[in-house]
Symmetry: C2
Subunit: 252 residues, 2 copies
C-alpha cells in the first residue's frame, strides 16, 4: 500500500496496490495479508461458477479430486465434474455453462470439480477474502473491489499450471477499471503485461482470442458457442465468494 | 515439431516449434528432448555474460551459492559475484558490464554468481543444447537457432522466480526473427504474449522500459547507464554455450 499527499486538498489519499499472479504455481511469491484475492479461470471454471449463481445456485462446493466428487455423489449431492473438457461419467453435469439453468440450480447445492479451476480455488482458500471473477461479472467485481479499500491480487488459473492469455486478458480488463477509480496503483510486471495485452485485445476481442491456445483447443472439441459466451462482458452482477469450504453469492 | 506439405513443390517442409517459459519455476512444464534452450536474463546476467565473451573471456563457471564462489576464490580463481545488485565483498568483480573489459578478461577463466541468472543457467544445464542470449547478441542467436533445425525453448530468468517483462521482450524479439525464417511456428501462449509485448515496446524501447519494475529498481540503485546498455541490440556476435559445467563462446 502506498501513500500520496494531495497538496491541493491536504487530505491523505491511500493508494491500493494491484498485483497479478500468472499461475497458481507462482502463488507463493505473494503475501496475502489484508488483500482481496480475485480468482480467474475464464475458460471455463469461473465463467461457469458466475453463470451458476446467476441462475440461482445457493451453494457451491469446489473439490479437487474425482474421488472426492464421487463420494459426494454417493451421499446424494448434485455433482458437476469435468476432465479434459468432457463430463465425467458419474456426474450430473459437465462443464458447459448452458447446462446450468435456473430449472436445474435454483436454491440448490452443487459439488464441482474441473481439470484446472477448482484446484486454484482451493489453493487460494486460505486467503482472508476470495472472489470469483469472469468477464460475465467484470463490472460487479470491479465495483466490489474498489469499495473494499484493500490491495488486490488477481490469481490466474492458467492451464496445467502454466500461463494462459485469456486469464491475463481478464486481469488487464479488471486493472483498467480499478485504475479508473484513481485509488489504485501498481509496480507489478504481470499487471503491466496484462493491461498491455488487454489494450491490444479489446479493440476486437473475438478476433484476438483466435490465436490463443485454449481457444483453438476448445474449438476443436466443438465448443465455439461456449468459448464466445465466456467473453461476454457484464452479463450479470453476481459476486461469488468463498465462505468456509464453499462458495456463495453475496450480491443477490 | 509439425509437418506441412507444400503441394506446389511436393517437398515436405519441417516446421520447428517455438516455446517460451516465463519463469524457471515453470520449467518442468516443458519437455527438453531435441530442443535448444535459450537462456535470457536481460537485467543483467546474460547481458553481462555476452559482454564477457565479447571482451575475450575463455571460460565462465556459473555457480549458485556464494559459499561455492568463495571456495573458488580461495583456490585462486577470478570471481565475479553479486547479490541484490551489489558486488559481494570477497569478489574481484560485481555485476556491471563495464567492469568486464578486455584487459581484465582476455584468455581468462572466471567464476560467476548472481542473485538470479546463474541459478537459471544451472537449472537448464541438463538440457542437450543451451545458449546464452541477450539483446547484445540477438541476431547472432537467431542465426544460430535457425541453422540448428530444432525446436527452441526460450527460458526467461524472471525476477525472484516470478515473471519479468524485460526477458519476455527479448523472447518476443527473438521470436520475431525466427518467424521471419519461415521455418518456425508456435501454439504457445507465452510466445504470443512475448511477441505482442515486443511489438508494443519496439516502437520506442527506451520509453517502454521506464514502466517495468526492474528498470525502476536499478535506476534507484544509480544504474541507468548499465540498464540502457543492456537494451542495445546486436553489439556483438558471440555465442556463449554450456559445455560440461562451464560456458564457452562458439562464435569467435
Amino acid at each position: 500500500m502506498g501513500f500520496f499527499i494531495n497538496l491541493a486538498s491536504l487530505k491523505t489519499i491511500v493508494m491500493y496496490k494491484i498485483e497479478v499472479c500468472l499461475s497458481p504455481e507462482l502463488f507463493d511469491k505473494y503475501t496475502l495479508e489484508n488483500k482481496i484475492v480475485v480468482i480467474v479461470d475464464i475458460l471455463r471454471a469461473t465463467s461457469i461458477i458466475t453463470t451458476m449463481f446467476h441462475n440461482g445456485l445457493k451453494k457451491l462446493i469446489p473439490v479437487n479430486s474425482l474421488k472426492e466428487a464421487n463420494k459426494y455423489k454417493n451421499d446424494g449431492y448434485l455433482v458437476a465434474a469435468e476432465r479434459n473438457g468432457r463430463k465425467v461419467d458419474f456426474a450430473d453435469y459437465g462443464n458447459s455453462p448452458f447446462e446450468f439453468t435456473t430449472e436445474n440450480l435454483e436454491g440448490k447445492t452443487l459439488v464441482y470439480s474441473t481439470t484446472n479451476g477448482t484446484n486454484t480455488i482451493n489453493i487460494a482458500a486460505k486467503s482472508e477474502s476470495v472472489l470469483i471473477a469472469s468477464f460475465l461479472n467484470l463490472s460487479s467485481v470491479a465495483h466490489y473491489v474498489v469499495n473494499q479499500k484493500k490491495d488486490v491480487l488477481i490469481l490466474c488459473s492458467g492451464w496445467e499450471g502454466n500461463f494462459c492469455i485469456e486469464d491475463s486478458l481478464f486481469a488487464g480488463a479488471l486493472t483498467e477499471k480499478l485504475l479508473t477509480s484513481k485509488n489504485f496503483t501498481t509496480n507489478c510486471d504481470s499487471v503491466i503485461l496484462s493491461l498491455d495485452l488487454w489494450n491490444i485485445a479489446k479493440i476486437d476481442i473475438n478476433q484476438y482470442i483466435k490465436k490463443i491456445y485454449q481457444y483453438n483447443r476448445l474449438i476443436n472439441l466443438g465448443m465455439e458457442e461456449i468459448v464466445n459466451y465466456c467473453f461476454r462482458i457484464d452479463m450479470t452482477e453476481v459476486l461469488p465468494v468463498i465462505e468456509k469450504y464453499y462458495l456463495v453469492n453475496i450480491n443477490k
